[in-house]
Amino acid sequence: MMRGYLRSDGRKGIRNLIAVAYLVECAHHVARRIAEADPERAHVIGFPGCFPNPYAQKMMERLCTHPNVGAVVLVSLGCESFDRAALERVVRASDRPLRVVVIQGEGGTRSSIAAGRAFVEEQGPLLEAAETVPMAVSDLVVGTVCGGSDGTSGITGNPAAGIAFDRLVAEGAACIFEETGELIGCEGIMEARAATPALGTEIRASVEKAARYYAALGYGSFAAGNADGGLTTIEEKSLGAYMKSGQSRISGLIKPGDIPPKGGLYLMDVVPDGEVRFGFPNISDNAEIVEMMASGALCTLFVTGRGSVVGSALAPVVKIAANPVMYARMEEDMDVNAGRILTGGATLAEVGEEIYRTVIGLAEGRRTKSEELGHQEFILTYKSFEPIGPACLPV
């Protein structure tokens, strides 16, 4: 039986965590020490920069009010540019217990850590004892990402994740796939899958924007390890990554922090708008996971061929091994062995079903390997976006 934590905005979480959020790198150490008071429940997130950035502000507002978050500690140095007051207002309006620790006001490192820890220790038992409510598949928001891809990813793990997505979407969940820079070459097929022709045009434009952006940077979204694993070109990697999206109609195109208005399959446009600024769109896999969480993803399916070990702060990450040789070596980090499709141990449909069941299990109290191992990676950097156009979310 799936159960979740009902939040004031009507969304339901599958975890009841404390977000300990630093608002500039200068407050990171204090935040980390505060979270150590309850390492399972208190997760550190934050924004390192001291220059203001509307994207980062929106991301932090969304993350501090994520359905898996039941209480919030904001850790500020005091002189940073981050709009702490605006973030405080958003968290208070969500009815979450909040403690704001301003290091320059509390009296320094020791007193700030003590103040934050007192709140974490007081909240822990309350969050543990909080009431849960029944949850349906239609309450789920699930993201998918692939990282450390190789020549097996697009044959096993990604299409199996796509099968799980198809079933989740058919049962009313909102599913998000992303990285338009890793869908270069797939714009035509995706355009044809859009719910409306106008949405199809927007999808094509988002991939063309990604191709331009990466061309200006001089690198595709393609790491040396991808080539070691048998992938040769960005369009080959893209076709493999595209398989994660399954066969459903594409209901909308969203940007990081936009929350899907209803169930369906959504493409997330993660490449900044305007001229190239602030460097690479997503500097590593966790940046993508963070953006899907900001759009409400309660958990993320992570398909890996080379063998990524990351999890995430705030939302469980289900690790799907695409490569059977890697699985044999790294089983301790992998939740699902999709490599069995290559060795004849299972069909795509069977692995797709296993992934679906694993997602449901997360709302039934089961934990992922990366949660058990204590992985709580988090990264947030500068970006800039224009709001999505009206054709991106057809009614």
């Binding site: 020549g151 048998g230 080959e236 076709l239 060795t343």
Partner: protein, 107 residues
Amino acid sequence: MPPSDNTDPRLLLLSPGDSVLVLRERIEAGETVMVEGLAVTVPEALALGHKIARVDLAEGEQVLKYGAPIGRASRAIAKGDHVHTHNLRSDYTPTHQRGGALAGEVA
């Protein structure tokens, strides 16, 4: 799906019109494998997930996998050749490899 009876079962055809087969297992240097009726001796070990040409490809010709283009032959490719960064290039952005890394050398 196995491509046909006269092809090594370790080679996978993803879509009927494809120009490449994908390795579902590692193939060691010096092994002879059947590629659609042609016996090919593999000069260097090829790891799981790498590609072998199913047909002769001229320089500039599109290479198909999953039934879709994944770039063009940067030089002539013979049936049975390893297809990778040395003979296939992107139509979008060039592929970057760390210094000295050779395609296929990592298991």
